[in-house]
């Protein structure tokens, strides 16, 4: 009998623990309700100030809602390993580029390991990896190992930089984790400006200072490219727009200015990438477009073209501080930057040696400005202008401070739920919970009477346990999670149904209520165990292999199933024991 007493203590203990861990959730809810009741903003502000600790505490310990219920962004970003490896290769040629391009296409369509794809592609061409990577004496497997390490480092660095950017932007409770060897998962609850966030995240933030080519070179190069592109090519007719030469889309002003109309930007940038055009470039040179369009006199928007040296004079690694501000006229936003000591001395040397020439400030392949060097700059300061808005300047400040990503990252998956849809989901979820719960409760009482009542008590406890475990372990409740709870309610009564049907059989066989109860529980036990273990196993596998929303479902299903094992075997049995000892049960108690 001592054992039984422990059971009672256990039940009371579990119930109290569940209620206790839900107290902050209740508090959060009631504080929110009080806050809603205020009519003036001043009252609510005062309330928040007076109850700040309480609110903060409740929010931290209360039940968290998933991104789908609260609204927010879920992003998966992928580090471009192909680009990373191309940076590492030391004597790239056309063949190498062709192979890497092919691998890039394969990698985009599958989740296969990029290093395996690269090795396979080179093996197919009978080229040893050491021809392009690291030391010529390295074996293929050594190089694979090195590349793998490189990729792992890049992923960690990219995660840190992205975390920095998000922290500086200021998002409450972001979650940033890595998955596999090239993915970064970012969860941002309650984002107000998603567009800005995307822009902030995806830029590589590779800052370069590059010298412009000498006077006249731009015009010469454009002339050459124009001729090369207008030459009747083997394919297509000469009337083809792309064969009309560059000058149909590019205007040249004077000897050193050229620009492209905004609507032709994509087209021209594609044209300039064609091999005929690339072959016309002077050695160590590159044509870049401006980051921002200038307004011409006739109202059209023009992007300037710059011919710059391919090798940067200085890169963004030397930047230690960046600050968004307004320029001297007070209207143009700009970003002031300062450099570390190494950068400062280099910058002084570069500016000193190139007085009167132009240096382009290039961020992620687009030219922000190309000022003429007036004098030697000894203090390591520089400035980016040509920025549209203060907001953009602030974002530049953030990405420059956080540093450049080791390789470009791409958004490969995005799930954004707006706050209004989240509110809809919460309403729908609550409705399903309430209706599902009522349906089961009524059915059980109708069918099993007293027994059904006990099962309903167990069901309440079950739902309480699921919610409290979620709150206690800081897991969040999502819409699929709510579906999991509703489904668990249906299945949780299964254990009781098994037992009650058995008890009915035993009663029909003429046993007393006491012995029918104990027989019923004992005999149903193995079925209950088997069915719960299989459900737990399925839920566990869902949790292991599923991601995001599926995991939310799996977690509530697991907790619910475990709780149902407890409530069905311990809780209802204890209720019946109490009722029997008080002579409150008869053979009619199970309907």
């Amino acid at each position: 009998m001592k054992n039984k007493r422990y059971n009672l203590l256990l039940i009371v203990g579990v119930t109290l623990l569940a209620l206790w861990s839900l107290v902050p959730t209740w508090k959060e809810y009631s504080l929110g309700k009080q806050l809603e009741a205020f009519s003036s903003p001043r009252d609510s502000l005062n309330f928040v100030l007076n109850h700040r600790d309480e609110i903060e505490d409740a929010r931290q310990k209360g039940l968290k809602l998933g991104l789908d219920l609260k609204g927010g962004m879920h992003l998966v970003m992928e580090v471009d390993q192909i680009d990373l490896f191309m940076q590492k290769a030391w004597n790239r040629d056309a063949k190498f580029d062709a192979i890497m391009e092919e691998v890039g296409r394969q990698a985009a369509a599958t989740d296969a390991d990029v290093i395996d794809l690269v090795s396979a592609a080179f093996r197919k061409q009978n080229i040893r990896l050491s021809r392009y990577f690291y030391d010529i004496r390295n074996s293929d497997s050594e190089i694979q190992g090195k590349l793998r390490k490189e990729a792992a480092d890049a992923l960690v660095r990219a995660r840190e930089i992205i975390r920095n950017r998000i922290d500086q932007y200021g998002v409450a409770e972001p979650m940033i984790t890595t998955q596999g060897n090239r993915k970064i998962i970012i969860e941002l609850p309650g984002i107000s400006d998603e567009n800005r966030m995307r822009n902030l995240l995806k830029g590589t933030a590779k800052l370069e200072f590059r010298l412009l080519r000498e006077k006249g070179a731009l015009q010469r190069t454009l002339d050459a490219i124009n001729t090369a592109l207008s030459a009747p090519s083997s394919s297509g007719s000469s009337n083809d727009a792309a064969n009309n030469g560059l000058y149909s889309f590019v205007q040249v002003y004077g000897s050193d200015n050229a620009a492209v109309r905004a609507e032709n930007r994509e087209l021209v940038s594609d044209m300039l990438k064609r091999p005929e055009a690339l072959s016309q470039l002077p050695p160590d040179s590159e044509l870049l477009l401006a980051a921002r369009a200038d307004e011409a006199d006739d109202g059209s928007r023009l992007y300037s073209l710059y011919l710059v040296r391919k090798t940067p004079e200085l890169t963004g690694g030397v930047i230690t501080e960046a600050k968004a501000t307004f320029g001297s006229q007070g209207v143009q936003p700009e970003v002031l930057m300062s450099m570390n000591s190494e950068g400062t001395s280099k910058w002084a040397r570069i500016t000193g040696a190139n007085i009167g020439k132009r240096i382009a400030i290039v961020l992620d392949g687009a030219v922000y400005s190309a000022p003429v060097v007036q004098s030697k700059i000894p203090n390591g300061n520089s400035v980016i202008n040509g920025i549209q808005s203060l907001e953009e300047a602030k974002d530049l400040e953030i990405v420059l401070k956080a540093g450049a990503l080791p390789a470009p990252v791409r958004i490969v998956e995005e799930r954004t739920v707006g706050p209004s849809l989240g509110a809809d989901y919460i309403r729908a979820g609550l409705q399903s919970l309430i209706w599902g719960f009522s349906a089961v409760v009524v059915f059980m009482i109708f069918y099993y009477r007293q027994g059904g009542l006990a099962a309903d008590v167990a069901l309440v406890l079950n739902v309480l346990i699921v919610l409290s475990v979620l709150a206690g372990f800081n897991a969040s409740l999502s819409l699929p999670g709510i579906a999991g709870i509703v489904l668990t309610m249906g299945m949780a009564v299964d254990a009781n149904v098994l037992i009650y049907e058995r008890i009915r059989e035993e009663l029909a066989a003429g046993r007393s209520i006491t012995s029918a109860l104990s027989e019923g529980y004992d005999r149903a036990f193995s079925s209950i165990l088997d069915s719960h273990v299989t459900t737990l196993a399925a839920a566990f596998l869902l949790y292991t292999y599923g991601i995001g929303p599926i995991q939310g479902f799996a977690v509530t299903l697991m907790i619910g199933t475990a709780a149902s094992l407890f409530t069905a075997i311990v809780v209802t049995r204890e209720i019946f024991r109490l009722l029997v000892s008080k002579n409150l049960m008869s053979s009619k108690s199970f309907g």
Partner: protein, 311 residues
């Protein structure tokens, strides 16, 4: 109250009819899978989906032509909620571009009717293949785990018959998805991650039902001769019938609630589980136990079920 008391239905005697029904359902499903295929959602095929909600109702045709003029390719359908539409298009890493294209067109063409982008989902092709593969692994691992567990708890023949029943249930629901996919506007029945969760739920439910029947067989079968097996199987199924039906009913009830109240995001999931529970209840009585019986009858040796000595 009781609905089924002391039934004595000859389940095994009708197993041939049941086999015919099952085969018919399976074949219909498989043919539809081969001909119509499945209606994959963006989780598995990659792509972008945008849910737009307007302040006032807009005819879907008008919206389509506005989008076509703006150069947004893809399809537009009514979404399960009021004044809402689902636009699905190809995947493009930059949803900003897509958003500004949509906003630009709608703000100029449908001026008096403000809208809101309430949801954006974009899945790249590499992620889609990732998700497909992990779904596949989850299903495979679940079936293997169930086979091993039931094999240990009962016996391999029973476990194998149970897994066949799971396949039966999952394939029939899959066939149903293929057959009805895209037929109903309110419920496109697309294959996505949540459907994989539904299939694992169905598998778990199906084996639970089966195990309960097996458990009763194990209890009754000890020290009995093989000639009595048919009677024991039938009796065990009749004795558990009441539980099977009641549990199915309560679970169906809750799933029905989900179907009605939980909104379009959960609807396909609820539909899959609903159908799966119906088929799973049927299969535990008409597929799993009869197959186990059939196999045991052929092998002629008396069954030794683990745990039957002490039960």
């Amino acid at each position: 109250m009781r609905i089924f008391s002391n039934t004595s239905i000859d389940f095994l005697g009708r197993r041939k009819i049941a086999y015919a029904i099952s085969l018919l359902l399976l074949l219909t499903g498989l043919v539809s899978l081969a001909v119509r295929g499945l209606n994959y959602g963006i989780d598995f095929r990659g792509g972008s989906e945008v849910v737009l909600r307007f302040e006032q109702d807009v005819p879907v045709g008008e919206l389509r032509s506005v989008m076509r003029d703006a150069g947004v390719s893809g399809t537009i359908k009514q979404y399960g909620m009021d004044r809402s539409f689902l636009l699905s298009t190809v995947f493009n890493g930059d949803t900003n571009e897509l958003k500004s294209l949509i906003s630009g067109a709608l703000n100029s063409q449908l001026k008096g009717n403000p809208f809101e982008i309430v949801r954006i989902d974009a899945v790249g092709p590499s992620i889609a293949s990732d998700l497909k593969w992990s779904a596949f692994k989850a299903m495979g691992a679940a079936l293997l785990a169930i086979l091993i567990y039931v094999g240990i708890r009962f016996e391999l023949k029973f476990a194998a018959a149970g897994v066949v029943a799971i396949f039966h249930d999952v394939l029939i629901v899959l066939g149903l998805f293929s057959l009805l996919g895209g037929v109903f506007e309110v419920m496109p029945l697309e294959m996505d991650q949540s459907i994989i969760a539904a299939f694992l739920t169905i598998a778990g439910y199906s084996i639970t039902d089966t195990v309960v029947v097996y458990d009763r067989i194990r209890e009754n079968i000890r020290n009995r001769k093989p000639s009595e097996y048919e009677q024991i199987f039938n009796e065990s199924m009749n004795r558990t019938l009441s539980r099977t039906i009641i549990t199915s009913c309560t679970t169906l009830l809750t799933v029905l609630v989900l179907f009605i109240f939980a909104g379009p995001a959960i609807r396909a999931f609820a539909f899959a589980v609903f159908a799966g529970i119906l088929v799973g209840t049927y299969s535990s009585v008409f597929v799993a136990a009869p197959l186990a019986f059939e196999w045991i009858k052929r092998s002629k040796a008396p069954v030794k079920l683990r745990g039957s000595q002490k039960a």
